[in-house]
Structures are given as structure tokens and as C-alpha cells.
């Protein structure tokens, strides 16, 4: 009996023109989103590669100079010396022998590598910069830049697969299920069917199975297509674990909308009313609640203004400068190129500039920490409020799964800051000891290698969102079975 009803349901679904239209739209949207997401990630990757190539090029030129100088020294039998800071080309050791110059005037770009699923959910990766210049100077210099992007497009938000899943997939599901029972009742066929040896529950179960199969096929099938078209690192287990999580989250989310439609049907109103109610719930959960939560979070815990941070940073800079000896020292520390050749004090200016940067850093880090703390408060509030809407839980979950979440970026920042101080120490110590950089030293420069977060950490953060989704789903799924007992079969 089940099989008969299921096959009948599948066939009748397949003959609904509107469903095919929506499915076509969904397919088109997924294709477009995959294409757009792939392009966005490729653009970021090119930006990172270009920045790295430029800085490496600068250092390669410096290295070439030192090689030529080393050859010259070897030929003439002189000693390999340290260059004072001077940008005017001339005779003597090249600037590349001076660790202070190399460390301060070139930057090592550190990059947050995208996960294999990055193109599926752009998340916050378009407003932050995923590659940061590590150089001598201060930590704040490192994070002042932003990814360049048209603010109009940022405000609109990306058309990525996460958007299709969160906004459009529910519409498809609701269109398929909003008149699950009500249409049969309105046509009068429900009473006829139930006159046969089949219970209402069996009928419901068959109808649900038929539709669930369609949704499962859509979610898994198109998810896989999207991954294969724009996913990367397909040879790594982690990518597939993340993809499995993606599918689980999407299925839970689909199940929620599906069960909601069934629940509304069980209360036995007309198809038009069911449609209106479900559309209203969609609007509230997907549009109204997320924007309200965001409003509340930013009102209760407004991020301290970056403008204030800028003013404070300048305050610290001015104070540092005033403690820095003579105005001449200050001038030369900014304009090493103006120091006359042979002026031994030129070295001191760089030392002083270093000391100044260190002072600014010391004054600013506590401020920056405050800043981050407030952001974490806000994030915490959103984490608690996410249970108000499956759409929020889903967005947070998909960002987490795709590696475009705020938390992963913060972890990257910590690693980047550590690398910057490593870079700083490497060059500062050699510079302060007046140790000349030799060509082979260029191979010893610190290199950044991103340490991926353990998957368990990711799972831990993901757990809250997924557990919330699961809970909401369970609630909405179980209720219909209770309500079904009182279902009025015949139209009144």
C-alpha cells in the first residue's frame, strides 16, 4: 500500500508545473551561486598571490644586490659589511645587508587559506582581509587594511550557495508541501482515499516519504554538484568531512521547513490559509528575526568605534614621539633616505623608530583587546539569540563549516600577530647586533605556515548551532503526530 501511494504521489508531484518551475529556478540559482562564489574566492586568492609576489620580488631584488656585493667582496678580498640606512644608490654595501631595512620596508604576507568549501558560503570573508602584511612596526598597522570591494555589493551581500539554501530552499519545500492534506480535502478525495484500507497516518507517511525523497535528492545532488564545480582540495578528508556536515545541516534545515508545513496542514485549514501562514512564518524567521537579533545585539553591545581607536592610536604615537629625543632624530627616523652618507647616527634613527613602534604597540594593545572583547560580547549575544530562528543557526553553521566564520578569522589573527612578532624579532635582533645579512640568510627568514584549527574545535563551535537546529526540528516533527489524531477528514 505504501509503495502504491508513494509512487502515486511522486507521479503527481512530477506533473505539477509550478514545482518544476521552482525547481528550475533553484537549479539555476545554485549554478549561479556556485559560479559567483567560485569567482569571489578566486579573486581573493589572486589578491593574496599578487601581494605575496610583489613583496617577494622586492626581497629578491635585495638579495640579488647582496649576492653581487658578496661576489665583489670575495674578488677584492675585503670584508662583508653592514650598510647604513641610505636610499641613494652608490658605492658600498647594498641596503639588503641591513636587517632593519629588509624587515621594515618589505612585508611578509600571511594568508588564511580557504577551506575546500569556502566558495559555498562567503560569510564574512568579503569584509575582512584574508591576507595581512607582517612587517616591523605595530600590530595595528597589520590589520588596518580591508579587502577592497564595492560597498554597495557588500551591503547587498553575496549570492552564494548559503543564500540559496537559507532563503530559497525553504520556498521550494513549502511550495511542495503547503497543501499536503488540504488540497485533497478541498477536492474531496481525502475522504474517498480513507474509505480504502489505509489510515490517515499511513497516507501522511507516504506523502512525506515521497517529498522527503525529492528534497534529499535535491540537497545531496545539488550540494555534490556545487562542491565538485567550485570546491577545492577534494583529495583531502577534511573537505569531505566538512561536506558531510554541510549536508547534515542542510537536511536538518530542510526537515524543519518540511515538518512545519506538515504541522500547519494538520490543523486542517484551507490551502490558501496554509500558504499564507507558512509564507508569514518564512518571512518572520528568515527576514524579520535575524535583522531584529542583529539590531538588538548591536544596540546592547555596540562595537566600540574604530574612530575612537584611531584617535587613541594617534595619542599614543604623539606621546611616544615626544619622548624620542630631538626633532632631528624624529625627522631622520622617518626619512632615512635623507641621512647624509657616512653619518653613523643613521643607525640610531632606525633603532629609535623601532623603540617608538614598540611604545605605541604597548599603549595600544590593551585598547585593541578591549575592542575585541566587546566584539566577542556581541558575538556571544548572537550565539544565544540564534535559537530564535533556524535561519540564523543555519547561517552560523554554514559559515563555520565553510571556514568563513568570525571565530576562524580571530584564530587566524592570533596566529598572524604571533608571526609578526617573530618576524620583528628576527630582523630586530640582527639589526641591533649590526649583523650584516648575507645572501644565504635570505633563506632563513621566518615563514608563516597557517596551523589549521583541529576539526574538533570546529565541531565544538558548530555543535551549538547544529544542536539547536536538531532541537527545533525534533519539536516541529513530533507535534504533527499528536495533532493528526483530531484531523477533520471531510470538508465542512
Amino acid at each position: 500500500m505504501y509503495r502504491l501511494i508513494i509512487s502515486h504521489e511522486t507521479r503527481s508531484l512530477a506533473r505539477t508545473g509550478a514545482l518544476w518551475a521552482i525547481l528550475a529556478l533553484l537549479v539555476f540559482a545554485i549554478g549561479f551561486a556556485a559560479f559567483a562564489g567560485g569567482r569571489a574566492i578566486a579573486r581573493q586568492a589572486k589578491g593574496a598571490a599578487d601581494a605575496v609576489a610583489f613583496e617577494n620580488g622586492e626581497r629578491a631584488k635585495m638579495r640579488q644586490d647582496t649576492e653581487a656585493y658578496a661576489a665583489e667582496v670575495a674578488a677584492s678580498g675585503g670584508t662583508y659589511e653592514f650598510a647604513t640606512v641610505n636610499h641613494v644608490p652608490g658605492r658600498g654595501p647594498p641596503q639588503g645587508t641591513n636587517a632593519g631595512v629588509v624587515g621594515a620596508e618589505t612585508a611578509a604576507y600571511v594568508a588564511l587559506p580557504p577551506t575546500g568549501l569556502a566558495a559555498l558560503s562567503i560569510g564574512q570573508s568579503d569584509v575582512q582581509l584574508n591576507y595581512l602584511p607582517a612587517s616591523m612596526g605595530t600590530t595595528l598597522d597589520m590589520i588596518k587594511n580591508l579587502e577592497t570591494e564595492n560597498p554597495v555589493n557588500l551591503q547587498t551581500g553575496p549570492f552564494d550557495i548559503a543564500f540559496v539554501v537559507i532563503f530559497l530552499l525553504p520556498i521550494f519545500i513549502l511550495a511542495m508541501t503547503y497543501d499536503l492534506l488540504s488540497s485533497e480535502k478541498e477536492r474531496g478525495t481525502l475522504a474517498m482515499i480513507l474509505a480504502h484500507p489505509v489510515s490517515l497516518r499511513e497516507l501522511m507517511a507516504s506523502k512525506i516519504v515521497a517529498r522527503a525523497a525529492v528534497i534529499l535528492a535535491v540537497v545531496v545532488g545539488f550540494g555534490l554538484l556545487a562542491l565538485l564545480s567550485v570546491g577545492t582540495q577534494l583529495d583531502q578528508t577534511e573537505t569531505w568531512v566538512r561536506f558531510a556536515l554541510w549536508i547534515v545541516a542542510t537536511l536538518l534545515y530542510s526537515l524543519f521547513w518540511f515538518s512545519l508545513a506538515v504541522l500547519v496542514n494538520v490543523y486542517g485549514r484551507s490551502s490558501a490559509t496554509n500558504g499564507t501562514i507558512l509564507a508569514g512564518i518564512w518571512l518572520i524567521l528568515v527576514v524579520v528575526v535575524p535583522t531584529l537579533v542583529s539590531l538588538v545585539a548591536t544596540t546592547l553591545y555596540p562595537a566600540p568605534s574604530r574612530m575612537d581607536l584611531i584617535v587613541a592610536a594617534r595619542e599614543a604615537q604623539t606621546a611616544g614621539e615626544k619622548n624620542m629625543g630631538s626633532a632631528l632624530d624624529r625627522f631622520y627616523s622617518e626619512h632615512m633616505d635623507q641621512v647624509p652618507t657616512g653619518d653613523q647616527r643613521a643607525m640610531d634613527f632606525l633603532t629609535l623608530a623601532q623603540a617608538n613602534a614598540a611604545n605605541i604597540e604597548k599603549a595600544l594593545l590593551p585598547l585593541y583587546e578591549q575592542f575585541r572583547e566587546q566584539s566577542l560580547h556581541q558575538e556571544g549575544l548572537v550565539q544565544r539569540f540564534q535559537y530564535l530562528s533556524p535561519a540564523i543557526m543555519m547561517q552560523l553553521a554554514l559559515n563555520e563549516i565553510s571556514g568563513t566564520s568570525t571565530a576562524r578569522y580571530q584564530d587566524f589573527l592570533d596566529q598572524a600577530f604571533r608571526f609578526r612578532s617573530q618576524w620583528n624579532d628576527f630582523f630586530a635582533s640582527r639589526f641591533l647586533k649590526r649583523e650584516p645579512l648575507r645572501p644565504e640568510d635570505y633563506d632563513q627568514f621566518p615563514t608563516f605556515s597557517y596551523v589549521p584549527e583541529p576539526l574538533t574545535t570546529v565541531l565544538g563551535r558548530l555543535a551549538t548551532s547544529l544542536a539547536g537546529l536538531l532541537l527545533v526540528c525534533a519539536g516541529v516533527t513530533l507535534l504533527p503526530f499528536v495533532g493528526l489524531r483530531r484531523y477533520q477528514v471531510a470538508a465542512r
Binding site: K46, Q124, V288
Partner: protein
Amino acid sequence: MIATIARKEFLEIVRDGRFKWTAALMVLLLVTSLLAGWQRFNSYSQIQATAQGSTNTQWLKQGDKNPHSAAHYGNYAFKPLGPLAFFDSGIVNYAGTAVFMEAHKQNFPIARPATDTSAVARFGELNGAMILQVLLPLLIIFLGFTAFSGERETGTLRQLMSMGVSRGSLLWGKAAGIAAAVLLVVLPCLAVGALALAATGLQTVGGGIGTRVALIGGAYLGYAAVFLFLTLAVSAWAKTARAALMALVGFWAFTAFIMPKTAAEVSRLVEPSPAFGTFMAEMKEHQKRGIDGISPRIRLAEYRGELFRKYGVSRVQDLPVYWTAVSMQKLEELDHPVFEQHYNAVRDEYARQLRLQDRLGVLAPLLPLRSISMTLAGTDLIQHNKFMAETEVFRRNMVLKMNTYLSQAAADLNGVNSATNYMIANEDVFAIVPPFRYEPPALRDVIASQAGNFTLLAGWLLAAILLALVAVKRMSLERN
């Protein structure tokens, strides 16, 4: 006759229980968002004004130093909000709010509020504009989709016709009735908005508040009317009320959610803009090789030759101007065309992207309305670009003033030994740079920039009315 129909339609809607719920929700959201917008607007404006005041003082009180060092220290420009930002925050959260203006470098705006908010903010900001752009059309659809289809299903449509009511007056009457119900919800909220405006309007930039409000109001009314007549058209044309609702909600979702994002992606495809790393690498390479392929170093040597000829001297120490200062100014000026080419290219790409999105407004009336709203609120891309352009003008003037001062005041230091080879200046010298003041674009230009969008919106309105007239003319009176 029209008045009678309108009255009946209005009463029927208002007495419906669903109306009370949706109206209550709308009022709640609209009032909340306007108040939150007002609070945010005040707090931002306060911080912005304080920060600008502080950095201006810091510039003057930076301590005695070489004028060129002062130009390195530079100053910041903080972007003030447009006059109606509490209603439509536009791109404020996604465009930078501060620009560092320093010697040798043009900089992108930094301090983008969106980087410090949770990912949930990407669902959109709940503000007055968002509610009127996204939720108001839905309210209109819910109130109006049964206007004809419902009467046809209950059989009253044929009855009505038998009484000699013309189809045209039926359409206008129903439109007036629904419009009255919608205004009943929206107008009190807008009164709250007007109060908020009265409380903030005085301290804002941009001026012409009355004109701005009138034009924004007109645009939103037109937008609402588009949805009203489309709803009536579909209601008359659809076979059942259910089909009418499905079609209308589908169009709504298309115009409110799918089209803006699609338009943004399409515009990115047609007019790609470089990522930060690509931009910087290309620009720095260009700086090094010189705008026309002749390196700044060679240009500088040529310039020294020119100066020698001009003053009839053959050594730097004989120049009547301080060579260090004029050479730094020369290098600065050699960079100007490079900056212009690269930064303007990005700026123009953004503007072209937006224009393309506006034009895609032929498919979704939300797009032209969004631009009109942002622009008149003073929170749009055009004004952001003008802000960026003005910071660059300020920067160049600041650097020029400092270098010029140094070139004359230190002329006797040419070639002198290093220990005395510097001059220091004080606050009085720094004060020759007037403080940064942002001059928003003239209201006339702001309005002119939106002429195309107003035309597009008017076109939509005309098309919707025509569609409704045709649909009502051809409407069948019975279910079939």
C-alpha cells in the same frame, strides 16, 4: 461611485482580523527601527564629530617638528552621516568611515563598521528604508490579492457588474480603499520618523531636508503604488485567489531578495574590480616605473637640472630653495597621476557597477528605489566617492603647504652638514593647513544623478497602472 467602493474596500480590510495583526507587526517594526536608527545616528554623529575635533587638535599639537615630518604625521578625515541616515543607512556600515591623509600615500577608507559586527548582520539592517522597501509591498499584496479574485470566488463580482459599475471605477475605488488602509498603518509611523528627524535634522550635513523628504516620500509612494496596481492586476487576471497570491509573493521575493543580489553579481561580472592585494601590487609597480615608464629617479635628476638652469647655479648648495623639500614635493607630484589612474579606476568601476544595477531596475522596481533612497538620505556611493575625492584634495594641499614652507624656510640649509641640517616648525606653521571640511554634493546634483532612477520608477508605475486597467477590462466575472 469610486468613493463608495473605496469606503467598502477600506472597511472590509480594516475589519479583517489579519489586518490587525499585520498592521500591528508593521507599526512595531517601523517604530522600533526608526528609534534604533535615530539612536545610532546620534551616537555615530557624536563620535564622528569628537574624533574629527580630536585629530584636528592632534595635528596642531603634534609637537614641534620638521614640516615634512608633520605631513607624515598627517591627519584623519572622518565621514559625517547624510541628513536622513537614521532612515536609510545605505552603505555606511560597509564603506570605510575614516581616511588617513599622509605624505607620499593615498589611502583607501578604513574602519568599516561591518568588520566588527557578527555575521548575522549580513541578513540586512532593520531600518525604515528596509521595512518600506521589503515589508510594505508584502503588506499591500496581503491586503489586495483577493480584491477581484475573492469577489469572483464568492460570486459578488457578477452582481456588482449587474449594478452598472464601470470596471474602471471599480479599479480606482479598490485602489483607493487599499491605499487608505496601508496609509493608516504607515502614516503614524512616519510621524514618529518626522519627530526623530526634527530632533536630528539641525546637526546634519547636506541641507535641503524638506526637498529630500518630499522626493523620498514621492519615490516610496510611487513604489508602493507599483505594488498596489500590480496586485490588483494579478488579482483580476488570476483564476483563483490562491494563484494570485502565489504569483504576487513570487514576484515580491524576486524583486526584494533575488534581484538585488543577482544584480550585484552581474555587475561584478561585467565590471570586475581588483582585490586589495592585486590593486596594491599593480599600483606600487606603476609608481616605481613611473607613470610614463620613466622612473621617478630619472625625473628627479631632470628636475634638478631644470632648477639649476632656472636659477643659473650648478650646485645644490647654491639653490635658493631647500632641495630636500622641493625634491620630496616633486616625487609627490610624480605619484599623483599614478594614484589618479589606479584609485579613480576603482572608483569608476564601482560607479559603473551601481549604474548597471540601477538599469537592471527594469526587472525589479526595488533597485531604482534603493538608489533614490540612499542618495537622498546621503548614505550612498556617489557621496562616499566625493568624500574620498575631497580627502585626496586635502592631503595634497596639506603636503604641498608643508613642503613649500620647508623649501623656503630652510633654503639656507642646502648642503650644510647634517648636525644642523634640519629645521623645526611649531603649531603656527601647522595651522596654515585649514582643517578638513567635507562639503556634501549640492542637492541639485544629487537629484540630477537620480533622474534615471525616477524615470525608471515612473515607468514601472505607468506599466502597473496600464496592466491593471487592461486586466480589469478583460477580467472574467465567473470562475471557470
